[in-house]
Symmetry: C2
Subunit: 249 residues, 2 copies
DNA sequence: TCAAAAGTGTTCGGCGTACACCCATGA
DNA sequence: TCATGGGTGTACGCCGAACACTTTTGA
């Protein structure tokens, strides 16, 4: 992967990269395919999360940032560790063993992986990579696929963590552009939690929050009444943290 | 440590073992001491969390259970992974390097550790161990000590996680005996959160919770009016989970 | 003028909070 | 009889929940 760094063979990082397209929550999956070099027959084809082994001289968090940048080209995005997966048999399925043998990169038979989730404020990111076939997949759909290794379990845990955390920490804004409408924010909370929210109550509550700042700008290019745009002011949020209790939505 | 298992040199588990003595929250610390074999001078003396390297043929969670049992003799106690610590320099302090050299067990220079916290329902556990000098230390006190490696950071993170989790999950009961008084439960919540709670409101709310079941028994051996004892019924808790919102206290 | 989403207020019930005194027991 | 913690009720304010119609814009 990188000629100047030695990888650690038994520890990896997997990033669950979430994005929101104003409709539903999506996750980045990487295609894993191996064809028979002679016959061209597909020996293996499925999907994995964005992961790789860590380097000997790199902090764990930095490994996650590196992988994220390597796959999406993005830097400075929200990233948080949520769990570590260490069952002895977690890479022991037949197809996973086959894969490890095929790529032949000297990884250990037993690998622990540390899960991180990332929140990206656009699904318009250019996911083309020379090395990887990457795509956005609706989370619901990804849950129905049989992913590589224990990546279904990792995805589920990431989702659970996101759902929990979004109640008390202002991380939802990481999934939206700088300026957003209240309806977009509402749709986002609905997509994450899976529950509908009453529009009037939602707006009433948001408008009372001093860190959700109304802008002069309005939506453009829509074929209906354009909505007012809002901005999340982190400074105000941090300064009023102690006055707040309860949920953020 | 165990002649029949090979350890993994670059991955360990550290357990933050919490206990409650009806007054304050305590944590198990293990003394780390090394004297000069010739002069008897103390070269190093401080404290660590309960940790050890994982075995090659053991699931990560099982490593935590093993360490817990090895140090306290207890099984079937509440244990939960909360974070993984993977900075390159996390074992690089001079005294830690000295220690690693002195014990000479072939551990790697760079070790990742997975943090677990355990909740024990009594501080009367026999902490005597042939191998280790172990003791309960008030959490507040432990925070003021300079622990080994990055164990202060690990302890802090464990505390933060406990404080968070105790609001929504019924884990507080893991720190109390089978039968407990409401005052004990209140003191526990106060010890964990650091905030005082109004007695009447607390009781009113608890008595409404169907899974906090009043028993016939009363406290014995106290020199004042004996309190009624209660019991946490997990089955009722699980069955009514969906009807509940808000905090557990 | 139509379609599509934006935007807006009131009522009600329940929950959290504040607060002070009598009770039961063992010493 | 005294000391110690056990045990109890009310009033008020706020917040969350339910609920339907008008407005603005582009097509």
């Amino acid at each position: 992967m990188d000629a100047f760094h030695k990888t650690i063979s038994n520890v990896s990082v997997d990033c669950v990269i979430f994005g929101f397209d104003f409709e539903k929550l999506n996750v980045v999956l990487v295609e894993r395919e191996f064809d028979d070099p002679v016959t061209g027959v597909i020996l293996l084809k499925d999907f994995t999360l964005a992961g790789y082994h860590i380097f000997e001289d790199e902090d764990l968090d930095n490994a996650a940032y590196r992988i994220l940048k390597d796959r999406t080209g993005l830097e400075n995005i929200y990233l948080e560790q949520f769990a570590t997966f260490g069952k002895v048999q977690r890479v022991a399925k037949a197809k996973d063993q086959l894969w490890l043998k095929l790529i032949d990169q000297g990884f250990a038979d037993r690998v622990l992986t540390v899960g991180y989730f990332a929140l990206i404020n656009s699904t318009n990111v250019n996911l083309c990579s020379e090395k990887y076939k990457i795509q956005w997949v609706p989370v619901e759909e990804a849950n129905g696929m049989e992913l590589a290794f224990d990546h279904n379990e990792i995805l589920q845990k990431a989702l659970d963590t996101l759902r929990d955390k979004v109640r008390t920490e202002p991380i939802a804004f990481e999934l939206l552009p700088e300026l957003f409408t209240l309806t977009q924010l509402q749709k986002l909370y609905e997509a994450i939690t899976g529950n509908p929210i009453d529009k009037r109550n939602f707006r009433k509550k948001k408008l009372q929050m001093p860190f959700i700042v109304p802008m002069k700008e309005k939506q453009e290019g829509v074929s209906h009444r354009p909505a007012r745009l809002f901005h999340f002011n982190r400074e105000i949020f941090d300064n009023t943290r102690n006055e707040r209790f309860g949920n953020l939505f």
